[in-house]
Structure formats: structure tokens, C-alpha cells
């Protein structure tokens, strides 16, 4: 095999992305855990990971740029590098979402506890599952696994919509719980974004492995721009 250095560089790039992915996944899990047990020290851990994630985003983009300029990648290698650049962005935003959730958890600490008609932990575990699967599909270059992630997004979106309805009702009818409800709504919204980012990652994996662009299929079909 020729171009050993180049293929080594591709492997290194994948490794670094997976490190970042691990941090992002961990961020979601920790933020969810902090919510569940109201432990502020875990929020600190999330904030620290956030810094590492941001640094990695810059490094990976730079490495990818160098590879594009120096190695003239083609076909599968080119699609791989492009997908790394895109997944990079989504992972950083997942990290941001985890950070936002942990901020909300800190905020909750100032408020009285409240029973709310919304199952944040369940939503969180679904979103986390989506992230885990999409990253596994990247590790294994498994387009089928990636496609299964796409179908999970609807469930998370539905849960978010239901949460919105329930929590606005709480804010209207039990206005003293409004701060808590708003908090929970923002957490739900962050988790919905996590689901979207996991979807994006899965779409990028499908692009890399199958050279197929499956983004926005529904809306484009609806607008009659796709068969």
C-alpha cells in the first residue's frame, strides 16, 4: 500500500474526532445525571469538558484543512474528511447543549423543587442513545445503523412538543412554578437540539459511506423539489 503517511493521518483524524465525541457524549450523560441528582459538582465537570471540546474543534478543523491542501484526497477519503469537518461542528454544538443543560441545573438549585409533567430523564436518554448510535455508525462506517438514528429523531421531536404544551400549561395555571417550568422547557429544548445534531452526524456518516446526500428529504419532497 502506498501513501502510508496519508492513511496514518486519516486514522489520526478519526481518533481525534472520537476523543471529542467521547467528551461530548459524556457531557450529555453528566448533565442528565446532574439534573437527576441535583449535584452541582458534576456541573463543574461539564464546564471543564466544554473547554476541551472547543479546543479539539479547532485542532480537528486545522488538521482537516491541512490534509485537503497537502494530500489532494479523492473519492472516499475526500468524503471522509468532509464528513469529519461537519461532524466536528455538530459535536461541538452537542457539547454546548450539555453545557446549557448544566447551566439550567445550576439555576434550578436556586429554586424550590417542583413536580413537573415532563420526563426529562427519558428524553435525555433517548437523545443520548441517538448520539451514541450515530457515533457508533461513524466508528463502524455502518450506514444502516446511521439510518436507524434518523427515524429516532421524530420521537424526540414529539416529546419536545409535548413538553412545550405541558409546561406552558403549568406556567399559565400554576404561575408560582413558572421559573421551574421555564427551566425545564429550556432543558427539553436543548435535548431536542442534541437529537438534531445526532441526526446530522448520522446523515454525514451516510454521505461518507454511501456518497448519498439524505439531508432535508422530507421537506424537499413536500415542496416538490425531490421525487
Amino acid at each position: 500500500m502506498t501513501r502510508i503517511r496519508f492513511h496514518q493521518s486519516l486514522d489520526d483524524l478519526k481518533e481525534r474526532l472520537l476523543v471529542m465525541a467521547g467528551l461530548a457524549e459524556q457531557g450529555i450523560q453528566r448533565a442528565t445525571e446532574a439534573y437527576r441528582v441535583h449535584d452541582l459538582s458534576i456541573c463543574d465537570l461539564v464546564s471543564r469538558s466544554e473547554i476541551a471540546i472547543n479546543r479539539l474543534e479547532r485542532e480537528i478543523d486545522q488538521a482537516a484543512l491541512d490534509l485537503l491542501a497537502m494530500e489532494q484526497p479523492m473519492a472516499g477519503d475526500l468524503r471522509f474528511i468532509l464528513s469529519v469537518i461537519k461532524i466536528n461542528t455538530d459535536l461541538e454544538l452537542v457539547g454546548d447543549a450539555a453545557d446549557a443543560i448544566s447551566e439550567r441545573v445550576r439555576g434550578m438549585d436556586q429554586m424550590a423543587a417542583a413536580e413537573l409533567p415532563v420526563d426529562i430523564p427519558r428524553m435525555a436518554s433517548m437523545a443520548a442513545e441517538m448520539v451514541r448510535k450515530s457515533l457508533q455508525s461513524f466508528i463502524d462506517a455502518d450506514a444502516e445503523l446511521a439510518r436507524s438514528v434518523l427515524t429516532m429523531d421524530d420521537a424526540v421531536d414529539d416529546m419536545n412538543r409535548a413538553a412545550y404544551k405541558a409546561l406552558t400549561r403549568v406556567m399559565e395555571e400554576q404561575s408560582h412554578l413558572a421559573p421551574q417550568a421555564l427551566n425545564a422547557l429550556m432543558i427539553a429544548h436543548a435535548l431536542e437540539r442534541v437529537g438534531d445534531h445526532a441526526t446530522n452526524i448520522a446523515e454525514d456518516v451516510i454521505f461518507w459511506v454511501q456518497a448519498a446526500d439524505v439531508r432535508h428529504m422530507k421537506s424537499l419532497k413536500k415542496a416538490g423539489l425531490l421525487p
Binding site: M1, T2, R3, Q72, A75, G76, L78, A211
Partner: protein
């Protein structure tokens, strides 16, 4: 105007060496088609079958059909006639060393019997214009020899010489591989301009060059044509794993 080339079951031998095996291919008119592949894969042999230069080697043999436009070039025509309709530019520029720039460009016509001064003058000027060399040599046409130009200029001179006989097809066997990047760019720009008038087939080692100039690309390996498709498909998502392995540098 250029014409399309149709190749059917082409096989070629050098002595006992089966250099090309069962090549089937349609090269579209007025486009640039690039042929890529590792050394020894048969792509140069292939283009030399299109202008019947392959058979100038005494141990060479060809079977199969090659049609240029409607003409079956092996059954219905003589090699000399075909070579007037199919021009060729070689890897190393090869202007005639004893001739002036003017005589080099006019060589194809003069050696085939044309002697009208005015016709030759206008053909020489037109060809040099078309190969983007006119401005650089118009004052020295008869004073300087073809071999006194720089490498890039020599190659453009060879292109002008090929164009002067007004072919329909232009074959280029790694035309820029002996040139520096600036000259290479000039040649590539030239190819882009020429394709509206000619059908161009270019053999190249340089995949980025194929990607830059060609609409269609064919990948040759061990005497067979593995894949032939639009250039952007070959380079972003080839159908055959061998193609992918070659262009990503996993071998070759």
C-alpha cells in the same frame, strides 16, 4: 468540429504481450476525455490504436473495431489518411529540429503537397493563434528554429503543428508531464478552448489534471478498462473498488 469515437472489442498485442484486452468505449464528440491508470496499464497503447500509430511497431497487432464518426478506421481507410484526421501530441515536445517555427507548423501541409504561399501563411497564423503561441513568435517565424523555444513553447508549437492539418480528433499523450506548472496551466487552458472545435483524448498520469480538464474519465488497469464515467463521479464516488483504490493512492 469533432466527431465521436466508438471502440468495440479492441485487443492489441506487442509481440506476445496482450497489451489491451476487450476494450469497449464511446468517446463523446467535442469533449475532453481523460485516460488514467498506473504505468503499463495500456492507456498509451490505446490512444496509439486510435491513430494507427500502434502498428508502426513491427511486432504490433490489433483486432477489433475503431470508428471515428462513421468511418471504420481499420477496415475502410489507410493509416496515412487516418493520421491526417487524428492529430497527436507527444509527451516530450518533438519539433522538427532542422525547421523554422513556420516550417514546423506548415510541415503537415507542405509534406502532403500543399504549396500555396498564402494558404500556408494563413494556416500557420491560425494554428499558432489557436495554440496561444502566435504573440510570442510572430516576429521570428522564419528566423528561429523550432528547437530554440522553451519547453512549454515547444509543446504549444507541436499542438499548432497538429492543428494545422485540421484534424477532427486530437490525441494528447501526457502533454504536460515534461513541463513546469505555469506551462502546464497554459496547456490546460488551451485544451479547454480547443474542445469546442475538436474531440480531445488526453492520457495523463496526473489525476488532478484529469479532474481539471476532462468531462469524462476512463480508468485503465492491466490492459482492461475498469471504469468509464463522468469525471466528477470517478473522483468523488467511483463504482469500482479498483478505481477507488487507485485514485486514493492505495496502490499504483
Amino acid at each position: 468540429m469533432g466527431v465521436g469515437i466508438e471502440v468495440i472489442d479492441l485487443n492489441a498485442w506487442y509481440g506476445a504481450n496482450h497489451t489491451l484486452q476487450d476494450i469497449n468505449l464511446k468517446i463523446p464528440a467535442n469533449q475532453v476525455t481523460a485516460l488514467i491508470g498506473p504505468s503499463g496499464c495500456g492507456k498509451s497503447t490505446f490512444v496509439r490504436c486510435i491513430n494507427r500509430m500502434h502498428e508502426t511497431n513491427p511486432i504490433a497487432r490489433v483486432t477489433g473495431t475503431v470508428r471515428i464518426g462513421d468511418l471504420d478506421i481499420y477496415e475502410d481507410a489507410k493509416p496515412v489518411e487516418i493520421r491526417r484526421r487524428v492529430g497527436m501530441v507527444f509527451q516530450r515536445p518533438n519539433p522538427f529540429p532542422t525547421m523554422s517555427i513556420y516550417d514546423n507548423v506548415a510541415a503537415g501541409l507542405k509534406l502532403n503537397g500543399y504549396s500555396n504561399r498564402r494558404v500556408l501563411d494563413s494556416v500557420v497564423e491560425r494554428s499558432l493563434q489557436n495554440s496561444a503561441l502566435w504573440d510570442e513568435v510572430k516576429d521570428d517565424l522564419k528566423k528561429k528554429s523550432g528547437a530554440s523555444l522553451s519547453g512549454g513553447q515547444q509543446q504549444r508549437l507541436c499542438i499548432a503543428r497538429a492543428l494545422a492539418v485540421d484534424p477532427e480528433v486530437l490525441l494528447m499523450d501526457e502533454p504536460a508531464s515534461a513541463l513546469d506548472p505555469v506551462s502546464t496551466s497554459k496547456i490546460e487552458d488551451l485544451i479547454f478552448q480547443l474542445k469546442s472545435q475538436y474531440t480531445i483524448v488526453i492520457v495523463t498520469h496526473n489525476m488532478q489534471q484529469a479532474a481539471r480538464v476532462a468531462e469524462k474519465t476512463g480508468f485503465f488497469l492491466n490492459g482492461r478498462m475498469v471504469e468509464f464515467d463522468s469525471t466528477d463521479k470517478i473522483f468523488t464516488n467511483p463504482s469500482d473498488k479498483r478505481t477507488e483504490d487507485y485514485i486514493t493512492g492505495r496502490f499504483g
